[in-house]
Subunit: 116 residues, 2 copies
DNA sequence: GATGCCAGTTACCTAAAGGATGCCAGATAT
DNA sequence: ATATCTGGCATCCTTTAGGTAACTGGCATC
């Protein structure tokens, strides 16, 4: 009976939330793509050039996934040839502080590694 | 000559920092494990029970990787049988705000998904 | 009229991540 | 005495992420 420890349940809950986030932004590329798009790269090739090393196939797949998760918006303009524009959604903005934290940590970590 | 756009370089730099972070905490399990350990689960089996669904093999591998990245500390006590204790390092604390942001976002995202 | 740009798609392949199962040895609990 | 706990390791297998390369079809440019 005293086996039930409420804080263990709370920790488990936190871990589940964390895993929900990881599920959406998993992989090498999703967050870098979001940053690139958010910073104004709206065209497919521009994004590809910003995110060093990504191939067209992977970028195409990742953009689709991000669109499904409502983080980016894809608009096609009926020009000739058709123009495609990617933008980040307002929902994507809710990720901003998290991403900024990750960028800051990465910078700090990089400096730290170089010191060794 | 006017091809060089300084803010493009800055964006590229940010993306690189982000990728450095992703490199350290990549995969399904590393951050959940860190949370579990940080919250006081110091024994192997306790961690395994906290991080739902992880197998001993994967946990063992991930703990080694985290130890190599100086995020967790492994101590063996010379009892019989030997007791093994995992704790988070002080360096790991620098990840805290980032992780808290991720947990918060995951919670919010989960609620948002359920509304649909 | 050949080349290159755009926004991708398709097919194929490899490496790595992750999962399933079984095992060990000493100790404690039933 | 036997069942279970500890901290893992070894083996085998499946899945998936990601990479390579080639191609498309309209338009513009050289």
């Amino acid at each position: 009976m005293p086996d039930i420890q409420p804080d263990k349940a709370a920790v488990a809950q936190q871990i589940r939330h964390l895993q929900d986030t990881l599920y959406v932004v998993n992989g090498k590329w999703k967050l870098p793509i979001l940053v690139a798009v958010h910073q104004g790269n709206s065209r497919f090739r521009d994004i590809q050039r910003s995110v060093q090393g990504i191939t067209t196939k992977v970028l195409s797949m990742e953009l689709k996934a991000l669109e499904q998760n409502k983080l980016v918006v894809r608009k096609v303009y009926d020009t000739s040839p058709p123009t495609v524009e990617y933008t980040t959604s307002s929902y994507c903005d809710t990720l901003q502080t998290m991403i900024l934290e990750m960028i800051a940590w990465g910078k700090n970590h990089h400096d730290r590694i170089r010191e060794e």
